[in-house]
Amino acid sequence: MKELLIDLYNKNSELINNGSPLFVKELREKALEVFKQNGLPNTKTENWRQSDIQSRLEHEFAFNFVNQSKSLDVVDIFTCDVYDLDTFSVTMLNGWFVYQNAPITQLPDGTIIGSLSKAMEVYPEIIEKYLGKAADINKTGVTALNTAFMQDGLFVHVPDNVEVEKPIQIINIVDLKENTFLQPRHLIVVGKNSKLTVVHCDHSLVHNISFSNTVAEIFLEENSKYEHYKVQNMGKNSSLLTNLFIKQKEGSSLVTNALTLNGAFTKNYVDVGINGKNCNSELYGLYLVDSAQHVDNQVFVDHAEAESTSNQLYKGILDDESRAVFSGKVMVRKDSQKTQAYQNNKNILLTDDAKVFTQPHLEIYADDVKCSHGATVGQLDPNAMFYLHSRGLCEKTARQLLMYAFASEVVNAISIPALKESIDNMVQKRLRGELSICDQCLLHCNDRESPVFDIDLNKI
């Protein structure tokens, strides 16, 4: 696959670099060199041992180096539970930014929202300042790969002192008939004292094999506030890698929440660089998986400056022969005194065949810190079950209530009421076995193949 991808770049280099400024081309080629050296991660690569992407790539894939869907009325083809939110909504179709009137919009408050590909032409000075500065191409093969092939994605620039009222919702849709390989690239800059929320939804409208390798770079300037919600409800042939790289400056606060409700193969990587004092980073994740679904959450928090706080809470419920991986690493550097860093990963296994690999990890070089980590793997609490039974709740209802309670700790961390409510509904439906991926989109309603994903309650 490595040679094939390198070859693919060389053959299409003109298309890929068409219209891009020179620095972008140089960045791509540098990344390609790194990719040539490092290749894709395999099961011998640290943090990838349990998540084999090589086998996910043993297919023929189509690549779209040219934007074929410049303009499209998304409302006509797509609605979803989350879509009802009062958001500024943007859509990516098969890896390309979809727009109705203009590829880039500037809001009255000065916020720029639009296509990254277009922004490379229109705002080269902003792009050059940030692009590739958070997503270290030497860190993982998939980041180098994305950087070599990146063409389009969401670009948001919030100027200083602006609180963007509506969350920006980005919906990533795949609707191609062929197996598709996508590499979206997002760049988000939140200015000093500014505030932004992004809701990132992934959906597949077809059951073809798709492989998506997303990189998002997020820059939080001094005292800014940023929240990032990732909602995944993908089909059984989808592989989804999402790499979030966040750089935090002094006084900034960050919330990320990765909600994986369905998806054949999902790996969420969150990389937080805390480069200022008094930063706060809250990193959440919830995964509800069954059948042969595989979900991997990897977190790296680098406390490079003193007096900041980070907190990780990842929870999951696994049914059938599903797999979950959690590897959380916190690095507290020598001079990062008064750091507080917490990690927690809790899992409920519903069957003997479900497996979880969890590895919370602290690496501390400072001496005046408060850090803790923990992981649990277990079943539903039999005392709580009996208590509910003793009030007349039947087996099924009692289990649903407890699973929902387990999941709700992460759902309750969602600060947007409307989003919290819709996620809450989706989680309840998921636990009742009513949420199939078809629930989410109109296109799919009359589909010939309607997969049912449900956690089998009788197996606990």
Partner: protein, 249 residues
Amino acid sequence: MLKIKDLNVSINGKQILKNFNIEVNKGEVHAIMGPNGSGKSTLAAVIAGRDIFTVDSGEILYNGKDLLDMPPDLRAREGVFLGFQYPVEIPGVSMVNFMRTAINEKRKHFGLEPLTGAEFLKLMEEKKKVVDIQAKLTNRSVNEGFSGGEKKKNEIFQMAMLEPKLAILDETDSGLDIDALKVVANGVNALKKPDNATVVITHYQRLLDYIVPDFVHVLYEGRIVKSGTKELALELEEKGYEWIKNEVK
């Protein structure tokens, strides 16, 4: 209403209840007293259907039906209620959701329509008064962050909501100060009706100053060694459990 005949119960091969017998009729309040380790809590748990215990022989009849044949949730829907000695904290399950689900499952069992939100809230407000609960329960998880007293009040509140036919109260007085004890006891008394029965399990006589029993039984080493009226509780308080132990020898 409740008839237990020659009940033998063990856990991990250790026998706890030995040829235990009791009969409780409608409208009666029974107190079961006994020293630590005599099998009081085991009795309560077995009636409610806790599966960690093994019933080796004997039967429990509830209104003529074999209780041991029913899963715990069915017993509850049929009107058996256990007030827990240690109520379980369930983070993330709100009191409102919990109670509404419990009530509607019970109504469904009897072929009744579920309560509407408004009907339910009205009922809840009414029943909160029984045990003097001021707090809003809407945003609180079941027993989470409740003080010892609040947890016990919450048990009686649930009892008020579910209107059981047979309530087994396991050491409801433990860990309560005198004010909370009065509130809890008044709650139990207020819920007493001619067609229901209550079994109060306690270590101390103190609770029985407020919940006056029709019968008092002394449980020792897994069986009832003495039965009487409320005077027996007073005698027990005066002479201590050593008296019973010596008598049994």
